[in-house]
């Protein structure tokens, strides 16, 4: 197994090292922004990005993860596994209470995993499929028994995926209509205080937090500002101190980063490792032809996109596994920007100028610009591209109905190929109606076999061999276009210390943060 490589950005390293030099101080309310406004804050029920960011401070999972994705204790103090990799025993921390004062026990864990998430949470269900049973052993011990070894099992306990919800408030109710949804109760370092919709979400310090001294902050205000330029202004005039990833447009980042007292880190996204891809419809049209898909890879100037659109943050991927993904294969021939090669391939396949529809990702300006750049790249090698503009609803619909030729997307890798990568390529994961499965319609029996074997193989050396083979096949077939491993920078005032301490970044970062003022 290769250790996932943290993004080596000098600035980030610098800020982290200086930050740790000082003695943490209590006090102060931190202002930050959230974009878009989350639909709700009950993390077990909604797992979209804004909810994770805010509610990650209210709720907790059993484990947290370091910036190199090593599991760390959270609500579970320790854990052990038997030699077959089947029975996992978690020791829970004692003296933890919910925000309403009730004690947190093993019963809550069993309820959360087995009842609550099984009912509501599709990403948890994917893990639950591998689990035989979940049992409480006393108040502070929980035993998970797996059906077969599952490589990424330990990576599944992040707060966003397997959050702990209070059994005493939810058991026997209609979860979605529960009155406590308006006032979420968790075990985290901050408590929900107030939500003025359209304006601000306010969290306050949980004075009864189980880790002494933590948190240092008195509270967090998440400002809701719908316009990117306004968010930048809010940072500039000092209203907010932290701009979590994705809250300002990429074009603005270099300018903001140069402001006084401003630091930037790219750490804190390792768990997600967002990977931008270009879906290519493998079922029909020119994109059905492997040579066409390869031509697209050669035609795109990905370096340009990284340098101009993403401000040199991020990484042009070699192939299907991100460069910091586990079991990454770095011995493959890169698809460099080579328009001539692309034209050759198109000639070879006899491309006749049939129109190809390109669906941009409606997630903001950078993505729109990117689609424009790709459109221009492809046109220049003679591909007749027409961009179809659409909003989130249309994008979902088109992808879910496979009504597209080329489409932008980005996917989280969740730390392990079995959680975040295989889902894109497995033919068993082709199903209409979702934009998050094998939307490209790629079918390859050998790839299916390899992925399935690798997921349950034990130990890691065995997994690595299988994954390397699959990467070679995918690299040749180009079922999707691999665009970019995205860098997700967080901008903040340098006097905000210890902001990013885990692999999910600010999602649970405010626990340790303090203000040096």
């Amino acid at each position: 197994m290769k250790t996932p490589l943290a993004m080596a950005i000098a600035a980030a390293a610098l800020t982290l090292s200086t930050a740790q030099a000082d003695e943490p101080r209590h006090g102060g309310t931190l202002n930050t922004v959230i974009q878009p406004e989350p639909p709700g804050l009950v993390l077990g029920m909604i797992q979209n990005d804004p909810t994770r960011k805010v509610a990650g401070n209210i709720y907790e999972g059993l484990l947290s993860y370091s910036t190199d994705l090593e599991p760390r204790p959270q609500l579970a103090e320790s854990w052990e596994v038997d030699d077959d990799g089947l029975v996992w025993t978690f020791q829970l921390r004692e003296g933890v209470t919910w925000h309403d004062g009730e004690p947190f026990t093993a019963e809550d864990v069993v309820f959360s995993a087995d009842v609550f998430h099984r009912d509501l949470n599709p990403s948890a269900r994917a893990v639950l499929d591998h689990i035989e049973s979940i049992e409480a052993d006393g108040d502070h011990t929980v035993v998970f028994t797996l059906k077969q070894p599952f490589g990424p099992f330990l990576l599944s306990f992040e707060a966003g995926t397997f959050t702990m919800v209070p059994k005493h408030l939810y058991e026997g109710t209609d979860f979605r209509d529960n009155e406590h949804n308006d006032h979420p109760i968790g075990t985290g370092p901050f408590k929900f205080e107030n939500w003025d919709r359209g304006t601000v979400i306010e969290l306050v310090r949980n004075d009864d937090y189980y880790v002494d001294d933590l948190p240092y902050l008195d509270g967090i205000n998440w400002h809701v500002i719908p316009d990117g330029a306004s968010r930048a202004v809010a940072y500039e005039n000092g209203t907010v101190d932290v701009l979590p990833n994705g809250t300002v447009e990429n074009f603005d980042i270099p300018r903001l980063a140069e402001l006084d007292n401003t630091c930037m880190t790219e750490e804190g996204h390792e768990y997600f490792s967002p990977f931008a891809m270009l879906w290519m419809n493998n079922r029909e049209g020119p994109t059905e032809d492997k040579r066409f898909r390869q031509a697209v890879m050669y035609a795109m100037d990905r370096e340009f996109a990284r340098d101009v659109l993403w401000n040199e943050l991020g990484n042009v991927p070699l192939s299907s596994f991100g460069s910091n993904a586990r079991f990454h294969h770095d011995g493959l021939d890169p698809y460099d920007h080579d328009p001539d090669r692309a034209r050759e391939l198109l000639d070879e396949m006899g491309y006749d100028g049939e129109e190809v529809r390109l669906l941009p990702l409606p997630y903001g300006e950078t993505w729109t610009r990117w689609a424009e750049a790709v459109q221009q790249n492809l046109r220049e090698v003679g591909i007749n591209v027409r961009t179809q503009s659409t909003d989130v609803g249309g994008w979902n619909q088109r992808l879910g109905d496979w009504d597209y030729d080329l489409a932008f997307t980005f996917l989280y890798q969740y730390g392990d190929p079995a959680l975040g990568i295989s889902r894109t390529y497995l033919s068993t994961n082709i199903e209409r109606g979702s934009p998050w499965n094998n939307v490209g319609g790629y079918e390859n029996e050998r790839v299916d076999e390899l992925f399935n074997e690798a997921a349950t193989a034990f130990p890691d050396e065995e997994r690595e061999a299988l994954y390397h083979e699959v990467q070679e096949i995918l690299h040749e077939d180009v079922p999707v276009g691999w665009l970019m491993e995205l860098g997700f920078p967080t901008l903040y005032r340098c006097d905000v210390k210890d902001l990013v301490t885990s692999g999910v970044g600010v999602n649970d970062g405010f626990k340790d943060a303090w203000l040096d003022r």
Binding site: T29, N31, P36, E37, P39, G40, I46, Q47, N48, D49, L120, P122, S123, R125, A126, R176, N181, D182, D196, R197, G198, T199, V200, E202, N221, H223, V224, I225, P226, D227, A229, S230, V233, A234, E236, N237, T239, P362, T390, D391, V392, G393, G394, W395, N396, Q397, R398, G400, Y412, E431, G433, S434, P435, W436
Partner: protein
């Protein structure tokens, strides 16, 4: 009594129009691509069939269209606008929470634009042949021709960033905990930029309209009569010309007041003003049908209320309507 009758009649008409709007929008929105459940699922980053089914059942999206429509319409009859798909909160509560902000913004902009527009317009009319009058009209034309959002962006850069005089966004200073007068002043300070931005365009319209209308009114015989009486020019301008010139402006203002709600979408977005314009745009993006329908309903209702008010004001201003046909 007359007014009661009039209002009753207008309300009756309003109910019919609103009913049509419900139906129209209901089908319009149904035509939009994208299933709200799929979008919610999409936002979550992961989905499966069970999850989608769950959501659809919950929102009643699994029912045939006519059942959905019937449920919606009969709900509205009891002032039940359903739940927002995305936020899981009653639509009525969401809209009511945002309505005051929109009313404050559009109301202020409306009054501002009307007052300034009429003032500038009458000034320009009085000085129709002088350079100062031409200058006012040139400015009005400039404001009219400048895209609203561009003004918004520029004013943020100028007043918030470079001059640091006014807050760039939001409705109040978060975390300041102002109450009472301090809060009012705080909100007022936040209101200045968005309200002015929104008002500029409409001010330009009123300025031009007032001027044209006043020039036309000044051609009327009764103005000659007034001059024959030996009245001062300023009195003639105010009492005879302006009063008559205002009548068409009242009508126009009624129409524009409704459009302001639409124009507020851009302003609210740029200035992060927590009003229903912004809520609408978000609801559209998220295919939050119930919320979108609710907002359409309320903004149409707002337009109708504005129209009724316009009618009443017109009646107050023009005695001929009261008794005549």
């Amino acid at each position: 009594m007359l007014y009661v009758r009039l209002i009753l009649m207008r309300l009756l008409k309003a109910v019919v129009v609103l009913f049509m709007i419900i139906i129209f929008n209901f089908f319009l929105i149904q035509m939009a691509p994208g299933d709200p459940a799929a979008i919610l699922a999409g936002e979550a980053g992961a989905t499966d069939e069970a999850f989608l089914r769950q959501l659809r059942e919950r929102f009643g999206l699994d029912q045939p269209l006519y059942v959905q429509l019937w449920r919606y319409v009969s709900g509205i009859a009891m002032l039940d606008f359903g739940y927002s798909y995305r936020q899981g909160v009653p639509v009525f509560d969401l809209i009511m929470a945002r309505m005051p902000a929109t009313l404050l913004l559009t109301g202020t902009a409306f009054v501002l634009s009307l007052a300034m527009g009429i003032f500038a317009g009458s000034l320009a009319a009085a000085r129709a042949k002088k350079p100062s009058g031409s200058l006012i009209m040139a400015l009005a034309l400039l404001f009219y021709a400048t895209p609203l959002f561009w003004v918004a962006l520029m004013s943020v850069v100028l007043f918030s960033v470079y001059l640091d005089l006014l807050p760039a966004y939001g409705m109040y200073t978060v975390g300041a905990g102002h109450t009472g007068l301090a809060l009012v002043l705080d909100v007022a300070k936040h209101l200045i930029l968005p309200a002015t931005t929104l008002a500029l365009f409409f001010m330009a319209i009123y300025t031009r309209m007032t001027r044209a209308s006043m020039l036309e009114a000044s051609q009327q015989d009764y103005v000659k009569t007034a001059r024959a009486k030996g009245l001062k020019n300023s009195v003639i301008q105010r009492r005879h010309i302006l009063r008559n010139a205002l009548l068409p402006i009242i009508t126009l203002a009624g129409l524009q007041a409704g459009q302001m709600v639409g124009g507020a979408i851009l302003t609210e977005t740029v200035f992060a003003w927590p009003g229903i314009g912004r809520l609408m745009y978000e609801a559209l993006q998220q295919r939050d049908y119930n919320l979108l329908l609710g907002i359409f309903f309320f903004s149409a209702a707002l337009v109708i209320v504005f129209n009724i008010i316009t009618d009443l004001v017109y009646r107050l201003a023009d005695p001929r309507i009261k008794e005549g046909s």
